[in-house]
Symmetry: C2
Subunit: 296 residues, 2 copies
């Protein structure tokens, strides 16, 4: 295999993702709602979830129309969760991606509605009224995204997060929280990509394992960066978990063991790809390394 | 045709709807989230949207599994919208269906998450991993519900509502707001029922017109009841539109012309059913009459 250039691979795909997001997140939504939705989604973010969808779909030569829709839908769910999570009744954060958060800029009511509308739009993207995406793929994508976003996934994880402030969680409880809060949508992105390629059996199971490992690794690294990076590098408020007395991997395991754990999870993710039987998983491998070795 | 008994028809279906909602809105969601979700959904509400889904599906002898899922999904979207709408940053209401609102009972953060999780659950219900509902129906239902709930529908209408406080809307603007805010999900419920029966052409168009007419009629009657009923009868705070200086049909047209307008919309709805070519639309007829003649 020739050397894989993640930068070039990502740049080509992100240009398309940005173009599609800009076209799909309309600015004609009424009464400022469109402005708030676009502000929440465009010009920011690592777009990790879209890249995972596209990489998984490409590994299976999946339906490209479906994959781009799923990529953008995953990003809309992520964006809505940040909007709601930043609100005063949740984390009360004023800085996100180096900009004022949505409720600071547009008011709390508009932020609430923009998040709600972004969630609906995510599902709308997955169920287009055309024949480029077979109904079976549309239905599978809606199923995967709904599970990843809902009470079994992201929303459930945030509820645990809320209830855990100031409590001493053990590693099992912390893992359970993060498996849902962050891991479910990252794994869901991989599984949506797999569904675009009709993955079954061994390949599907291996990609599920890969998604679970990088989903957890992402959060371990997030906890590390919350302690080691500054707000300018992160584009969001650093040190806020400690300030809010939230349990984290670093508070539980310490910095060094947290770093070692992230590397173990990377090894698990790469082993899963090895076991998948898929001929070319270089993009998925490179994304796993990026998740663990990123500095913001 | 024999006399149609809406009470008996509804009672039989609502028993099933309640049973399904209770089974599908899980109480094992973590950290109190399940309790907040169930509180928001169970033991309350007229269940008008489920009844519209089921009536439309029955008029077309539609897939019963799909129809029950769509019925419950529409109710979950309705329930989530009430939870978010009642929050302090929106309408700041403390009474709903005669009980404390969700954020009063569970806190704002949990209310926010419960609403978010209910929206995700609605789409999860529409895309089951079984063969009782064909993928084409699953995809069509997700498409219709997403459009009804999102920026073109309910969320967009609420944004207009927010932006309209204290402004003199004309009847066209008021209609546009309500068409989205309340009408889209009511019409969407009818269209989901139609999709369960594979409606096309004349029948589908007629049901769309029926749904649009009763959707608007519902809001006109809501505006009338806000002025004429008391809080105990409504199960929510009466007179709040006037207190919040929101434009309503009554403030625009006066009470008598608003009542006449509701009757005109009922006539439109019934004429659309007449034109549908469907052999038995008695449940849909009776529901339209109930929407217009209700006292809470």
């Amino acid at each position: 295999m020739p050397q894989f250039d993640l930068g070039a691979w990502s740049a080509a795909r992100l240009a398309l993702v940005e173009q599609c997001l800009s076209g799909w997140v309309v600015d004609d939504a009424p009464a400022g709602l469109g402005d708030a939705m676009r502000y929440a989604v465009l010009d920011g973010g690592k777009r990790l979830r879209p890249l995972l969808v596209l990489a998984a779909s490409e590994a299976l030569r999946g339906n490209e129309h479906a994959a781009m829709r799923a990529a953008c839908a995953a990003e809309l769910i992520h964006a809505y969760s940040l909007v709601h999570d930043d609100m005063p009744c949740m984390d009360n954060d004023v800085l996100r991606r180096g900009k004022p958060t949505v409720h600071v800029k547009f008011g709390q009511a508009q932020a609430l509605l923009a998040g709600d509308a972004l969630q609906a739009l995510a599902f709308e993207l997955l169920a287009p009224d055309d024949d480029k995406v077979p109904a079976a793929i549309q239905a599978a994508l809606c199923r995967l995204l709904a599970r990843a976003a809902g009470h079994e996934g992201m929303a459930g994880g945030q509820a645990i997060d809320l209830a855990s402030v100031g409590l001493p969680l053990d590693e099992g409880q912390l893992r359970e929280m993060h498996k849902r809060k962050t891991g479910a949508l990252l794994q869901g992105s991989v599984l949506m990509g797999a569904a675009c390629g009709g993955a079954t059996g061994q390949a599907r199971d291996a990609l599920a394992q890969y998604g679970a490992a990088i989903g957890l690794a992402f959060q371990v690294v997030d906890d590390i960066l919350d302690v080691t990076a500054d707000s300018a590098t992160l584009g969001k408020t650093a040190g806020k978990d400690a300030a809010q007395d939230k349990p984290t991997y670093v508070s539980l395991l310490g910095l060094e063991r947290s770093r070692a754990h992230a590397q173990e999870l990377l090894a698990l993710a790469l082993a899963a790809l090895e076991a998948s039987g898929l001929p070319d998983t270089r993009a998925l491998q490179a994304l796993a390394r990026m998740v663990v070795n990123r500095d913001n």
